[in-house]
Symmetry: C2
Subunit: 141 residues, 2 copies
């Protein structure tokens, strides 16, 4: 039986959370631009426990590498009022040619943005906390 | 034909974005706690153009009313690599008995948290910018 939080939600530990992250390819990145948090949908892939994203020279790169970020993936079913979410906090780092081994590794990951455009920068979220919550589907009957 | 941004995504204007917001009941709120942005899944309903949420005395209320917030709703289909997202930025305000008319109005909204717990505080995101993007489904053929 999983532990529950004070709202009755099942707590997902780091391993369970990473398993859910590995099964998806679209998440949301929150960066702080000035004092304004912004949520940006992103394509991603995992490099071990790190989350790898691509960016052009926009807000993800400018704002995201200057302060801590938050990354989130979820799956909610409005009809059964159930689902889960996983949240990762940490620092976003640009992977540069100075770390050729990492750059070579992330280049082989399936991070394929749906949007057109250059997206030539590779970013890696080095995770601090990884955790999640699950709202179970109500028992039938 | 809708306008497109520099990534080839269709730009959703305020009206189109509000229509998409009105059709959903689960979104994500980004607040800044210290210098750490956090993404929190939330149940919501619209009060005109404002987004109404409920909270216990946790992070949404503490961090969310002290600095600007961001709210996001999206729907992506990984199989067709298409979908949309709508983002709202603004200030989150507690609706208190000092504004009885608003409190009375929001109390009648269908904001029904899936999680257990008290959630006795009503919060209202007064929107600044509202906008969205759509990645169209690729044409068949």
């Amino acid at each position: 039986v999983n532990q529950r939080d004070r709202h009755g939600l099942e707590i997902l530990d780091r391993d369970a959370s990473l398993q859910l992250l590995a099964g998806r390819s679209v998440g949301r990145l929150a960066v702080v631009d000035g004092n304004q948090p912004l949520i940006l949908p992103v394509n991603y892939a995992l490099d071990g426990e790190a989350i790898v994203l691509r960016s052009d020279d926009g807000r993800k790169l400018r704002a995201g590498t200057r302060s801590p970020v938050c990354f989130e993936v979820d799956d909610f079913d409005e009809s059964t009022r159930s689902g889960w979410d996983v949240v990762v906090t940490g620092r976003l780092e640009e992977v540069t040619p100075f770390d050729a081994a990492t750059l070579d590794r992330v280049h082989r990951l399936p991070v394929t943005p749906w949007a057109e455009g250059d997206k030539r920068y590779w970013l890696r979220l080095v995770p601090g906390h990884i955790g999640g919550r699950r709202i179970p589907r109500p028992a039938v009957g």
